[in-house]
Subunit: 228 residues, 2 copies
DNA sequence: CCGGTGCTTGACACATATGTGACATATACT
DNA sequence: AGTATATGTCACATATGTGTCAAGCACCGG
């Protein structure tokens, strides 16, 4: 069962970005464009996590958060606040209200995804897979370790995140742009060709013990992890 | 290649609502505020689906629907009628005219989205699904793979797009010009004969495992994928 | 059965995408 | 500071895909 995330955010572009990234990391999502809608959806189905915009139309995010905490069935529901305000005072008020984490806009997608994972791991450890296995490759997020056929493999940070990204959806082809977005973050600018180099490094590392190439090149489309 | 939906609706608020929700779900949209405008836009570019208001200024929806059905190139175009009238008689008249579905205002957005998906899945499954099956051929867009009778088939980028295009409308015959437009893009100039070569390559690849030719040559008209 | 038109297909020159070693910086650790 | 490790780019070699042509085949109407 996929973790279900409610996105309470009125800016369409931001909501879409969140939805896209969450879904590709294997979450189920719903979007509420204002505070009222958020409350309605919360009544319909309790999510596993709420991403809550601070300034939400109709009912402000902080009020939504308060109401979430006041109802018994959602009292322990993890909430991550999104806000454009950077003032420390607000931050403290947000955490006081019971938000579990706090991210200021503009945020890096990869960072937010990491926070989402972190919060869920803390509150609902069972929902998050810490160890993913595809074929003979094992990725352990808690220890930051990769093994192939039992043998440990050393990967640099970027190669690790790259493999971690691929392993979310084995077999699926990702364009260089998607990989740059998901692995490097949508805010940094690097050449698309750089992806090739890192894929090459990842390949070399994964094949260092003699196995065959687990990454498939799809000409004019991108790369994918062999599903099997 | 997003599904393209034409919204023929004069009430701006409703049209906006539809547009917002459709675009959020990954559709491309255009709005026509009256019947004349709808007909003009239909001539310019044939959409994948039309949302058609019953009471449309200048040319009423039911008449637009009739005209859509009478033109060969739009005869099978999916149409969903929107209306405030709830009378059974109208409903029947609407379906008689050839609407594929019928939604009464006020409608729930999620319900309408579900109907849109349902109609498109029925009429043009290939637009919605990321895995399409025609006969013994399976095209998977997410993994960029093609299999026939379970055996993997390697296609170059152009051949893949060509097959993907054919599979949108199994059985339908496409002229070389249509294929150039749809597969290569309307901006590049290549010889019509080139289509022949690529069709040949696609055939060879698809028949490499011994199956029979899934593509039909229609002399002096073009090519089509055998519907079954 | 013949001629003509349209289609198929192998060859090939050219275009484009990808793989990879080298290198100059950046960053982290001691 | 000094060392080790990572990173992003480039340049060039290689692999793969593309468009065109032309010779030969298939089909159709007479």
């Amino acid at each position: 069962m996929k973790p279900f995330v409610l996105i309470a955010e009125d800016e369409k572009a931001v909501a879409e970005l969140l939805r896209y990234n969450l879904e590709r990391e294997g979450y189920e999502t719903a979007v509420a464009p204002d505070g009222d809608e958020a409350m309605i959806q919360l009544d319909e189905r309790v999510p596993d996590l709420v991403l809550l915009d601070w300034m939400l139309p109709k009912v402000p995010g902080i009020e939504v958060c308060r109401r979430i905490r006041s109802k018994p069935e959602t009292a322990n529901l993890p909430v991550i606040m999104l806000t454009a305000r950077t003032e420390e005072a607000d931050r403290i008020r947000g955490l006081d209200t019971g938000a579990d984490d706090y991210v200021t806009k503009p945020f890096s997608t990869t960072e937010l995804m990491a926070r989402v994972r972190a919060v869920l791991r803390r509150i609902r450890p069972a929902l998050i897979e810490d160890k993913v296995v595809v074929g003979d490759i094992v990725v352990d997020r808690t220890t930051h370790t990769v093994t192939r056929n039992g043998e440990g493999i050393h990967l640099g940070p970027t190669e690790f995140r790259l493999l971690d990204y691929f392993i979310q959806h084995p077999g699926r082809v990702f364009s260089r742009e998607q990989l740059l977005d998901g692995v490097w973050g949508s805010d940094v600018y690097v050449e698309a060709r750089t992806v090739d180099v890192h894929v090459g490094r990842l390949r070399k590392a994964l094949m260092s013990n003699g196995g065959d190439d687990p990454i498939r090149t799809v000409r004019s489309a991108g790369y994918s992890l062999r599903a099997n």
